[in-house]
Each structure stands twice: as C-alpha cells, then as structure tokens.
C-alpha cells in the first residue's frame, strides 16, 4: 500500500470525480468530496514524511519503467507542494457547503463538486508526475475544469471572466505544449530526469532555446506574473467564493512549482540563468508585480478584487525569491508559497462568509462589520496582519527570509523595496480595519444586529488563521522542509 502512495495521491480524486456524479444528493456529494480531500491530505502527509526520512521516491506507472512508461517522482519539493494543496483543499471544502448552497442553488451542486474534484486531481497530477507530457495533460484537466468552475459565478460577468481566462490559459497551455514538442524533438524523451541528462549535450541549439522561451512564457501566463496577470483579477472576483479561495491558495502555487521544476530541474539552473537574463528579469518583473499589484489593490472597492490584486503582488515576492537564485532565495519562495496559501485561503474563506451574510463584499459592506460579524472580521484582521508581515504571524517569517536572502546576495536596494511593498499592503489591509472597527456602521442603512457566518465556515477559517499564528512562532516544520527542498534542488544533494 505504502509503495503505491504516489499514484494514489492522483488517482483517488480522479476516480472520485465521475463517481461523484452518481451521488445526486448535494449534501452527499459535499461529504464525499470532503472525504476524498481528507484522504488525499493524509496521503500527502505520509508522502512528505517518507520523503523527508528516506529521500526521493520513484514510482513507475503500471510497472512500465521509464523511459517507456510514465514515471512519478516525488522529492521534497513536490511532496511539500502536494501537502499544501491537499491541506488547503480540505479546509476549503470543509467550509464549502453553506456558501455553495447559497451561491449556486440546489441543482448545480453535484456538477460543482465533480468539477472541483477534477480540478483538484489535475493540480495534484501536475505536481506529482515526472513526465513533461503528463504535466500538459493534467494542466489541461485542471484548466478546463477551472474555466467551468469560474463560469458558475453568480452574475453574468463570470461568463466573460471565464472566457477571458480560457483564451489566455489556452495560449499558455499551447505554448507549453510547443515547448515540450521541441524538447522531445531534440532529446527523444519526455521523462524529466532523462531530459535533464540529455539537454546539456544539445543546449546550444536554437530549438532548445525556443523550447525554453515557450515553456517559460506559458507557465508565467498560468502563474499570472506581471504583466501576464490580466486574467486573474476578473477570474478571482467573479468566481464563486469557494472557488476563489481554492484557486488563490493552490492554482498559482502549482504554476510556481512548475516554474521551479522546469528552470531548476529540467533545464538546469546554470542553463536557465545563462540562456536568458533570468535573474534580473525575474527580480524586475517580480518587483513590478509587487508594486503595481499593491498600488492597484489600494484603489479597489470590491474586496475580492482587492485581494486578487494582492495575490498578483504576493506572486511577485515569490518570483523575486527565485530571481535571487540562491538556496536562501529559493527557500524564501517556498516558504512564502506555504504561508501565502495559509493567509489567502483564510481571507477568501472569511470573504465567503461575508458574501453569504451580506450578499456582497464591497468596502461598504465592511462598515461596522466588527460588531455584526466579530469572528469573521477577526479572521480577516489576523490574516491581513499576516499578509502585511507583522511579527508573530506566518507572513513575517517568509518576508524576513526573503529580505535576508536579498541582503545575503548583496541586493540592498531590493531589500528596501520589499519593505516598501509591505507598507503598501499595510495600506489596503488598513482600509478594511478602518471600515470595520473604526468608522462605525452606515447611518443611512437600517440598524443591523449580529449576524455571524455559520460555524461550518468559521471553524475552517479560524483553523487557517490559527495556523497563520502557529507557523509565525513555531517555524521548524516549514523551515526544515523548505531548507531541504531548496538545498536539494540547487545543491544536487539527495
């Protein structure tokens, strides 16, 4: 059983998705999805533990050894990302029932959970596989289901957002496919490790260079790296609240994983840095993302949209970490990947509760929220502090590592700019605090009593919030894992 964990991780939700269709009762399909997600979480925790103690796992699908068969290869990096994705998914699905019921109506819920499971298994597949064509297949599975999920949003704008994402996402996926085709042409293999071995022999050819460029741009589109981020704010703000929480915390993280996997493992960090001026490119684009994303976020009146732009900014930080391209920098990126998943999932889940009760999440709806929904608003306040990077929250840890990594490599100005970016995020988080606690309720509206979100949403939200606080003080788990992962990737140690 334990030897089959890598495939179990992916096949479980993949098989569960069509089975979910047979469960006609909406509550039953929710419980089923939660169960599957929980099982996937347990599997990923076991995998992480196994990888940390025994090193990488290789698993050949159907007993066909690579390069004939597809190989799944779990090292510290994918085990870590799998752990994050399944963990967040479990929390999000646990909170989903009430919100999905109110936003989608009774008839479409089973379809929703089916699509969700498909998307979930697609993301897990991308992370677990060691075969580049398999990456493309799972990318399509997750993308197609994501488009459909976004289109299920409440108002008609969701259709437009989904279409926009579909066009850009398809371009991205096509680019990746073209790149993979070139690689296959040059090396005759699709296995990542074989590719890594054979590419150095042909790395001076234009085809490899073109493959690199295509794959890079394709991934950056999925990643919403500035200036390829235009689809993200629309998609996040019009998707159903639960979908936003899930996508914000997982989809971009998986794309980021792909970026690291391709630049570091497949092409090799030396090639990646010399083929293109990747270091300065990533640092510049990342910083641009931080500043543009945060600055635009400050002026948003739709709070879901505001946090969507904030995601663009946070992705910027992670890209900067890759751009620094030292062990410390990569570690900061991987730490922020985890911490950002924690805070954004908490924030968007809290927003789901707000949408459920107030019917929307404009800045106006926050007036006097500290009194009407104290627990929901408390969660937003703490997770917001984590987003800013206040001490004792998880956000502080990753920002601190990022700044330290920048200084270690001599990028003083970069460190200052990172701090300045945090101040911008303090501004937009402050707007919420100000409206909720300090301005008092809107006088023109009738007096509203206490109207807290249901426990079903509050408990997972606060679970995530407490995780934000816990990992802000007791950092040994994320720090050791990310340290091991980045040392393994860059140092070549087992």
């Amino acid at each position: 059983m334990l030897t089959h964990l890598p495939i179990l991780q992916v096949i479980l939700p993949l098989v569960a998705a069509p089975s979910c269709l047979f469960l006609q009762k909406s509550r039953l399909s929710w419980a089923f999805t939660l169960l599957v997600s929980l099982a996937a979480f347990v599997v990923s925790a076991l995998l992480l533990q196994q990888v940390m103690s025994e090193g990488s796992i290789r698993y050949s699908l159907g007993g066909w050894d690579a390069p004939w068969g597809i190989e799944y290869r779990i090292d510290v990096l994918n085990a870590w990302v799998l752990f994050i994705v399944t963990g967040v998914s479990t929390a999000v699905i646990a909170a989903a029932r009430a919100s999905v019921e109110s936003e989608l109506g009774a008839s479409r819920q089973t379809i929703f959970y089916t699509l969700y499971l498909l998307c979930f298994s697609g993301l897990l597949g991308i992370v677990a596989t060691g075969d580049v064509f398999n990456v493309f297949v799972f990318l399509e599975i997750s993308s197609l289901s994501t488009y459909a999920l976004i289109a299920m949003g409440r108002d008609r704008r969701a259709l437009w957002s989904a279409f926009q994402y579909l066009v850009l996402g398809t371009i991205g996926a096509t680019f990746i496919l073209i790149g993979i085709g070139f690689l296959y042409m040059m090396t005759g293999t699709l296995n990542m490790l074989d590719l890594a071995e054979r590419l150095p022999a042909v790395e001076s050819s234009t085809a490899v260079l073109a493959a690199f460029a295509f794959i890079l741009v394709g991934i950056c589109l999925k990643l919403a790296l500035f200036p390829l981020h235009l689809w993200l704010p629309n998609a996040y703000s019009s998707a159903p609240s639960i979908v936003t929480a899930f996508l914000a915390a997982t989809a971009t993280k998986v794309a980021l994983y792909l970026l690291v996997r391709f630049t570091v493992t497949v092409f090799g960090i030396d090639f990646s840095l010399s083929a293109l001026p990747l270091q300065s490119l990533f640092i510049l684009l990342g910083l641009a993302g931080v500043f543009v994303g945060s600055a635009v976020a400050i002026y948003q009146s739709n709070i879901k949209r505001m946090f969507a732009y904030s995601s663009v900014a946070q992705i910027g930080y992670m890209i900067v970490g890759i751009g620094i391209s030292t062990v410390a920098g990569l570690q900061a990126t991987l730490l922020h990947l985890f911490n950002h998943a924690l805070m954004k999932a908490a924030l968007f889940l809290a927003l789901a509760g707000l949408v459920l009760r107030a019917g929307g999440c404009a800045l106006e709806d926050f007036r006097g929220l500290g009194r009407r929904m104290p627990w929901t608003m408390g969660a937003i306040a703490v997770a917001g502090a984590s987003l800013v990077g206040m001490p004792l929250t998880a956000g502080f840890i990753s920002k601190w590592h990022l700044i330290a990594a920048a200084i270690d490599s001599g990028f003083w100005i970069l460190a200052l700019l990172i701090v300045a970016g945090s101040l911008l995020s303090a501004v937009y988080v402050w707007r919420l605090i100000d409206a909720a606690y300090l301005q008092g309720p809107d006088k023109s509206l009738p007096e509203q009593g206490r109207n807290e979100a249901p426990l079903g949403i509050l408990i997972p939200t606060w679970g995530l919030v407490l995780a934000n606080l816990y990992f802000g003080v007791e950092t040994s788990l994320p720090v050791t894992v990310t340290q091991a992962a980045s040392a393994y990737l860059l140092g070549g140690a087992p």
Binding site: M390, P391, L438, G440
Partner: protein, 486 residues
C-alpha cells in the same frame, strides 16, 4: 524563590489578573479585589528583583525561538526594572483611584475596562523586561491594541474619532519605521539583543546609522516627538484613570524607555555621538519641547493642556537620551520617574475635579480651591514637580538634564531648556493660583456644595503627591539603579 521565577511572575501576574477580571465579570467587589491584589503581588515581585539586579545578577527567561537568533526572551536589567517598578507601583495607586472614579462616575463596561488595564500592564512588563528588540516590538504593538478600546471607552463619535487617530499614528509609525529599523539593525549587526555599548560593528557607515536612528526616533510614535504627537491629545477622550496611567505613565513612558534603551544598548553612547543625525534630532526634540509648551499655553481644556505638557516633557527625555552623555541618560531615566509621579497626580486631580465639580475647562476653576483644597494643593505640588523646583523630585531630573547639556557643550540647548522651564511655569501654575485666588469679583460657580472626590481617589492623589516630595529626599533609590545600568 529563584529570581528567574520572580521575573516569570512579574510577566505572568498581570496576565492572570486579566483572566481573573474577565472571570469575575459583573461581581464588582471581586473584580476590584482581583485587580488590587494582583497589582500588589506584582509590585512585590518586581521589588524583590531590585536587590539582585543591583548586585548584577543575570536574570533571564526564554519563551520561544521564532527563528534562529530571534526569540521571545526576557532579561531583568536596571533600566527596565526602573520602568517596571514605576509602572507596577502606579498601577496599584491607579486601580485605587479608578475604583473611586468609575463608581463615582457610574461608567459602563467596567469589566472590559479593568481587564484591558491589566493587559496593558502585562505588555508594559513585556516591554520593560524585553531581552531583544523583537520581543519589545511584539509587546509594544500589544500595548497599542490593548489600550485602543480604553481610549474609545465612552463609545461616542468623538471618542471613536480620537481612537482612530490614536491607532493610525501608533500603528503607522511602528510598522512603517520602527519595524524597518529593527530589520535594518538585524541585517547590519546580526543580533537584536540589547547589549551594553551597542551592537553595530565599528565599520558601519555613519549615513546608514543616521538613517536607522531617524527611523527609530520617528518609529517609536509613543515617545510623541513632533510631528508624530497628534495621537496623545486625541487620546484624551479616554476616562481620566486611563489618561493618568496610560498617557502619563505606561504608554508614553514605554515610548521614551524604548528610545533610551535603543540609544544606550543598540547604538551605544560612543557610536551615537559620532552620528551626524544625532545633532539634528536633538534640535528636533528641543523644538518639540518648545512648540508643545506654547500650544499648552493656549489650551483651556484642562486635560488637553496636560496632554501637550506631556508631549513637551517627553521631549526632555528624548533629548536626554540623544545627548549621549552619562548625565543626559541619567537625567532622562530619572525624568521617566519624576514626570510619572507628577503627571499622574495632575491627571488624578483633573479627574477629581470632573467627578466632584463636573468641570473640564481651566477658565471655570476660579475659586475652586476653597471647596477642594486638598485636590488643588496636590495639583500645586505636582506642578512644581513637572517644572522641576524644590520641594519635589523633579528638581533632580531637570538638574541632571541641564548638566548633561552643559557636558555635551550644547549651549543653545541650555538656553532653550531654561526658556521652556519658564513656559512650563506659565502654563501650569496659573491653574492652582486661579483656584485659590479667584480674580476680583468672580465668585465660585457651579453647585453650591462641591466637596472633595470619593475617598479612594483622594487616597491615590495623596500617595502620588507625597511621592513627588519624597523623591526629592530619596533619589538614591533611582540613581543607584541608573548607575548600575549605565
């Protein structure tokens, strides 16, 4: 009992009091008993630390290591002990006073009031005993958050507006400047622990150090250096006991304490002297002292005048720290104590006048001295303590500050200090004078039978006013600690 346990007690007791008050909730007597008893125990625990600290014993605790080299840790050292002693002693007195005031005034939400009061003291203890800047920053922020609901206690629009300014300035400066300065310190020095003589390696450039010093001085918004002083007058919407303990002792003193400690144990006096920014900040502090005094002169509202007087007096302490001479530091540290006793008495009196005579404006006080002789007498004594003349302890701190200024050969500052002493006479002394010697033809107004405030409040006023006088006779309690600390 081990000294480490005592330190743990000093940190834990106020937290226990917080829980205890919440548990007692509406049972008024129990709630007040919990507050008073834990305040007494706290003072006992802190004062037992006095002797070991004087003997140079190393007393430390570590709670958690957040990252390698960054931990939540505490250490009892002389300067922090001084601050903790003052705060814990005045907590007892203020609790006594608050019982009389809150009952006499019939305030609502008293449980929240007493609970958050205890939480504020807990964070003050955290600040006083912090072993490193990280721990200090955490408790500094907790103090801001714990005192915010106290400021907006009244729940009126005005209180909320005041609270908003309060929170915005204190959080803004601490996140925008203070935290940045701490990060810079870590990157330059590789440590955040308070170390005698400073932490920066000698090759650090003066420009970087200047920038850091400016960030520290502005980042510690609680020290209320202009132009970041607006929160202090805004906080005067709070009930008087809050203004007394928090905005004359705990919060503002936490600010100047941080400045003193950063100057002494992060920069070190030698480094501080060599930085160009020090001189500029010295003059900024002097300007802050003078301007705040001038503004105070024009305030008719009693609490507003006291608030601006606080801004001005805090400037003295910052100035003392930035002088970078041992006399300057000693004067600044002493003034933390002297100003605490003087200002808390003044606020107590202002509260007593409000409760007994329902008056808030200075122009209404004519002839009140006849009805409330004890209160106005205490007000007079405390004013002398702030101005810095005998028979009060304020004499010492002003003396050392002047000495420090002369030692640093800042002659212009000597003149400015003299001038602002005159100003403080001009804005403080007319208040008791008017009360005792009403202007011709003006009769005492208001309810005919105004009497002194309830006895617990009067007892508190008596204790602090006598304290002002005793500090003149026994300054050695303080100065010995400072000597060990320097």
């Amino acid at each position: 009992m081990g000294t480490d346990t005592l330190l743990g007690l000093a940190l834990g007791l106020p937290i226990l009091a917080f829980a205890g008050v919440l548990f007692a909730d509406r049972r008024q007597n129990l709630r007040e008993a919990v507050s008073l008893i834990s305040a007494g125990c706290l003072l006992w625990a802190v004062s037992l630390l006095y002797r070991p600290v004087l003997d140079g014993e190393v007393i430390g605790l570590s709670w958690a290591e957040v990252m390698p080299g960054i931990e939540i840790a505490f250490r009892a050292e002389p300067l922090g002990l001084l601050f903790a002693l003052v705060a814990s002693f005045l907590w007892i007195v203020t609790t006594l006073y608050a019982i009389g005031y809150m009952r006499g005034h019939g305030e609502a939400n008293q449980t929240r009031f007493f609970a958050l009061f205890a939480l504020s003291i807990a964070s003050v203890m955290g600040i006083a005993f912090a072993e490193n800047l990280f721990t200090l920053f955490v408790f500094y922020e907790v103090l801001t958050l714990a005192t915010y609901p106290l400021v907006t206690h009244a729940g009126t629009e005005k209180a909320k507006a005041g609270g908003r300014t309060y929170l915005m300035i204190l959080l803004g400066t601490s996140v925008g400047f203070f935290l940045v300065a701490i990060a810079g310190t870590w990157l330059l020095a590789g440590t955040l622990s308070f170390t005698r003589g400073g932490v920066f390696p000698p090759e650090t450039g003066p420009a970087v150090l200047s920038l850091l010093l400016v960030l520290y001085v502005f980042g510690v918004g609680k020290a209320a250096i202009m132009p970041f002083h607006r929160w202090l007058p805004a906080a005067m919407v709070a009930p008087t006991p809050v203004s007394a303990l928090l905005h004359a002792v705990a919060v503002v003193k936490a600010g100047v304490f941080v400045i003193l400690k950063v100057c002494l144990m992060i920069f070190g006096l030698e480094t501080l002297k060599a930085i160009p920014a020090t001189t500029w900040l010295l003059y900024l502090a002097a300007v802050s002292i003078l301007l705040a005094s001038l503004v105070a002169l024009r305030q008719d509202n009693l609490k507003a005048r006291l608030a601006y007087s606080t801004v001005s007096q805090l400037g003295y302490i910052t100035l003392g720290a930035l002088l970078a001479t041992s006399a300057g530091i000693a004067g600044g540290a002493m003034h933390i104590v002297m100003h605490a006793f003087g200002k808390i008495t003044l606020f107590f009196c202002a509260g007593a006048i409000l409760v007994a005579a329902h008056k808030t404006e200075i122009s209404e006080l004519d002839g009140l001295g006849r009805q409330m002789p004890l209160t106005m007498g205490a007000f007079f004594l405390a004013s002398l303590c702030i101005i810095g003349v005998p028979p009060t302890g304020g004499t010492w701190s002003k003396w050392f500050l002047l000495l420090g200024t002369v030692e640093a050969e800042q002659w212009l500052l000597v003149v400015l200090l003299m001038l602002s002493s005159l100003l403080s006479i001009a804005y403080l002394l007319p208040i008791p004078l008017r009360a005792f010697f009403p202007r011709n033809g003006v009769q005492a107004t208001g309810p005919v039978a105004v009497r002194e405030a309830p006895w617990p409040s009067m007892l508190a006023i008596a204790v602090t006013a006598i304290g002002c006088v005793l500090l003149l006779a026994y300054p050695t309690i303080i100065s010995r600690l400072i000597q060990v600390g320097l």
